[in-house]
């Protein structure tokens, strides 16, 4: 009657063992953390010092080393929600476009007459032309300045919209280009912020896009949000410098007036570079992914007038020699100058994929934040407060745990003990899953675990109460146990599915700590149903097989 096939037993115990194994590193938190930090350093630098080896040795590498991340409210640190002012970018683009529009229209002076820029609404370029009859010509000329958009969705569209209203020529970014621009502005800001934050070397910062134009930045261990703001506000330094030579020896003597800098994406490659800035990133107005005349991915870039002149002069004198694009003392790329580049715009070709060229364009633009950041939300949690919260939470967890264990033992005797074993495994499984998916544990998350401890016994209680009822009808203990499980199942599933729905909603709509709560609640439901209907049952059946009791008391 009460039979569970051997493969099912193996799977159940196997899953439990996996969960326990995954949860184990959390018992040795600081040890494993030291090990993980060392492993990360070794991986990124490739060098292993004796110190790092010692740290690595603190946790055997064959064991799982995933840990539950501690949220800011537990670890202390700073949280910022920044909004990128994308409209700034539209302004910049129009400002950058004006010289080209002016030159193009001046060449057609005969048809369009004298031109004058007039004020227009933000993000639009308004030009009054002397001869309204020449508007069609003017629109056509300016349209020729447009470039096709390189993006997945906006294929075929061009970047600007030009229309004539009487004698007024209106130029604005097209809708597709605005979207593409927004996206680029956010990507670029993310990239810059990530580099900035990585520079201070704090552990596992979170930098992610939120919604259309927002960026969430969470940095554990930093003193205050104000400090973090100062860091993000600093502009990255981008320069164009002449290349002397290329080497793989970082210790090579660069010679007087030169510096040696590593390559950004080629491991072990270094460039000897003249310590002289031809043009700097402040003079770059734009960089876009594009294709060269042979249809290969490339990057278009454009300087402001001063930068354009300097760049034009330099390229004219140095055709055939490489120059380096340097960002934060790393060489992004060192293309060879193919021809004199007048007019301040150029194209970087190379062995790029589309992703490469997009990324390089981002990097090129990453010299300065594309737009102002406005901080909408900031939170600083001191490390002591976080530590206090951990201690209080842990104590509450233990007390809650013991109280529930005792209560269950008193209420259901031996069967309560079975449920208790399952409860211990349940908590271990929650931690195992949290570690596995790298979820973040927050203070409300701890509350979620405590609540789960309380509620996890519910499924067992349902079954036990049902078994009690079935025992009253006196059809023998084995039958009662089987019936108890069968009949309680519907209620267990209905009750837990509805609660799981709630956890899912919280996860989708919540943010930060609330999300942490949703995660522990949701995982807790999954593990508690699993332990109640599989683990407790397996324990009970195993016990029943051995003891063969004539009667049972639940």
């Amino acid at each position: 009657m009460l039979q569970i096939p051997i493969w099912k037993r193996v799977v159940i115990w196997g899953l439990v063992a996996c969960g326990l194994l995954l949860a184990m590193p959390n018992l040795f938190y600081s040890r494993v953390e030291t090990h993980n930090d060392a492993a990360r350093v070794v991986e990124s630098t490739g060098a292993e010092t004796p110190e790092l080896s010692a740290d690595l040795g603190r946790w055997p590498s064959f064991l799982p080393s995933g840990l539950v991340n501690l949220g800011l409210d537990l670890r202390g640190g700073a949280h910022l929600l920044a909004e990128v002012q994308v409209a700034d970018v539209y302004e910049d683009r129009m400002r950058g476009l004006w010289p080209d529009v002016r030159n193009a229209l001046r060449a057609e002076r005969d048809a369009v007459g004298p031109i004058r820029r007039v004020d227009g609404p933000a993000g639009e370029l308004h030009v009054r032309i002397g001869n309204a009859d020449g508007m069609d010509r003017a629109v056509a000329v300016v349209r020729d300045l447009s470039r096709p958009i390189v993006s997945l969705t906006g294929a075929g569209a061009s970047d600007i919209e030009v229309r004539g209203e009487g004698d007024l020529l209106v130029v604005a970014l097209s809708e597709a280009e605005r979207q593409a621009t927004d996206n680029r502005a956010i990507q670029q800001s993310l990239e810059i912020i990530r580099r900035r934050v990585d520079e201070v070397g704090t552990r596992e910062p979170t930098i992610q896009r939120q919604g259309e134009t927002r960026i969430l930045i969470q940095v554990p261990g930093i003193g205050s949000a104000a400090e973090l703001k100062a860091l993000i506000g600093t502009t990255a330094r981008l320069t164009f410098q002449p290349v002397v030579s290329r080497t793989t020896d970082p210790g090579a003597s660069p010679g007087p007036g030169n510096v040696i800098l590593p390559s950004l994406d080629e491991q072990g490659v270094f460039y000897v570079i003249e310590d002289r800035v031809v043009v700097s990133g402040e003079e770059l107005t734009d960089a876009q992914p594009a294709f060269d005349q042979n249809g290969r991915p490339a990057v278009n870039f454009r300087f402001n007038p001063t930068g354009a002149r300097k760049f034009g002069d330099y390229t004219a004198e140095n055709i055939g020699s490489p120059f380096a694009i340097v960002l934060d003392d790393e060489v992004i790329s060192a293309p060879t100058i193919q021809s004199h580049i007048p007019g301040g715009s150029g194209i970087i070709t190379g062995r790029f994929t589309v992703e490469d060229s997009t990324q390089l364009a981002v990097l090129l633009r990453a010299g300065a934040l594309p737009a102002e950041l406005i901080f909408l939300e900031e939170r600083t949690i001191g490390p002591e407060l976080g530590q206090d919260s951990i201690e209080a939470g842990a104590l509450a967890c233990i007390v809650a745990f013991v109280a529930v264990l005792v209560f269950m033992g008193l209420s259901y005797g031996l069967f309560g003990l079975f449920a208790n074993v399952a409860l211990v495994m349940n908590v271990a499984l929650i931690f195992g899953l949290l570690s596995l998916i790298g979820a973040t544990l927050t203070l409300p998350g701890i509350a979620g675990i405590v609540l789960t401890i309380g509620m996890a016994v519910d499924a067992n209680v349902l079954v036990f109460e049902r078994i009690r009822e079935e025992l009253r009808t006196a059809r023998g203990p084995a039958r009662a146990i089987e019936q108890g499980y069968e009949k309680a199942l519907s209620a267990i599933l209905d009750a837990n599915i509805t609660t799981f729905l709630i956890a899912a909603i919280l996860f989708t709509l919540g943010s930060g700590p609330v999300r942490g709560f949703a995660v522990t609640l949701g995982l807790g439901i999954i593990t508690s149903v699993f332990t109640a209907i599989f683990v407790t049952r397996l324990i009970m059946v195993t016990w029943f097989d051995r003891a063969r009791p004539k009667t049972i008391e639940v």
């Binding site: 406005i374 939300e377 709630i502």
Partner: protein
């Protein structure tokens, strides 16, 4: 000897006083709504915008002196409260300072915080800012909206689920019970002026989750008994179902409350409001699953012939998992 919260078999008549219990529920809901209207809610910065600063110091907090020190900074509306907690002890004195959102800026500037810190340290050199949280008016508006949507979506989904799994009368009863629980929770927040923030919304949703859990378990038994006793009057079937599940209802509430009380007493002051909301919700939720949901189903009546529904909505999960 086993611990039994209720006798082996009970046959309390839960519905004899259903007019009274219904009236109690209605009065409680109305009182909560009145409190909400009259006293309002003590919104945290998540929902009202502004800045909340937690200070800690080994020296005693003098709210008046803090205010005097901060007034010259002209920060607008300023609220200072001392936080008491049994776990703090003599050498840990905590205060919360609330600043209104500052004119023309979203989150607070570093300068403002530095000025506050300097002013307080002039008063008490050992004071530290344990946490600073600032939410701009833009985000707080969105958070209110999201929170509202979260609660509404949760209710709607549950209603649909119960409707699919049971019958529409059950869905109405269950959702009415949820409204009852949520409004009573908001009521207690209003009466006691506990801070109402994002974590409170999470607490409300947890209450919804717990209450529905409780309600569904009894509904499940009710459905089973309706099939079994086709001719018994509805009120008797309901009484039987509630009595049969009473032991489980109280056991689960008991263990959950045990865990929550531990958290309430020992979990620290930072999440006390959150835990309190859930604790209150469990008590109210247990009551509402016993009374509100059932009273309404009783009032609406229910289809008695379950045998023909087959694999359609209103069936149990039948297969055996292990």
């Amino acid at each position: 000897m086993r611990l039994r919260l209720v006798p082996e078999q009970t046959s309390y008549d839960f519905f004899r006083y259903r007019r009274i219990t219904s009236a109690i529920s209605v009065v409680a809901v109305v009182l909560s709504l009145v409190a909400w209207m009259v006293m309002g809610l003590n919104f945290g910065i998540d929902f009202s915008g502004g800045t909340s600063i937690r200070t800690e110091s080994p020296n005693a907090v003098d709210v008046g002196a803090y205010r005097a020190a901060l007034d010259p900074l002209a920060l607008g509306d300023l609220r200072i409260t001392e936080v008491f907690d049994p776990s703090f002890g003599e050498s840990r004195n905590v205060a919360m300072i609330r600043l209104a959102a500052q004119e023309g800026q979203e989150s607070v500037t570093g300068d403002t915080i530095a000025a506050v810190e300097a002013a307080l340290q002039g008063l008490d050199p050992q004071v530290v800012l344990a946490s600073v949280e600032s939410v701009g008016p833009k985000v707080s508006g969105e958070l209110v909206r999201t929170a509202f949507i979260a609660v509404a979506v949760a209710m709607a989904l549950i209603m649909v689920y119960i409707w699919l799994r049971f019958e529409w009368q059950f869905a109405v009863g269950a959702v009415a019970a949820l409204f009852h629980d949520v409004i009573l929770a908001i009521g207690i927040f209003s009466v006691l002026q506990i801070r109402f923030d994002l974590a409170t919304i999470a607490a409300l949703l947890t209450i919804i989750g717990y209450s529905i859990n409780d309600t569904v378990v009894i509904f499940d038994r009710l459905r089973e008994n309706l099939r079994k006793f086709k001719t018994m009057p509805l009120v008797d079937v309901m009484n039987l179902s509630v009595n049969e599940t009473l032991s489980r209802t109280l056991m689960t509430s008991g263990t959950t409350l045990l865990a929550l009380i531990a958290l309430l007493a020992l979990g620290g002051d930072v999440i006390r409001g959150f835990v309190f909301a859930i604790t209150w919700g469990i008590v109210v939720g247990t009551y509402s699953s016993l009374y509100v949901a059932k009273n309404i189903v009783l009032q609406l009546g229910v289809k008695r012939d379950w045998s023909k529904t087959g694999g359609e909505p209103g069936t149990q999960f039948g297969d055996d998992p292990a």
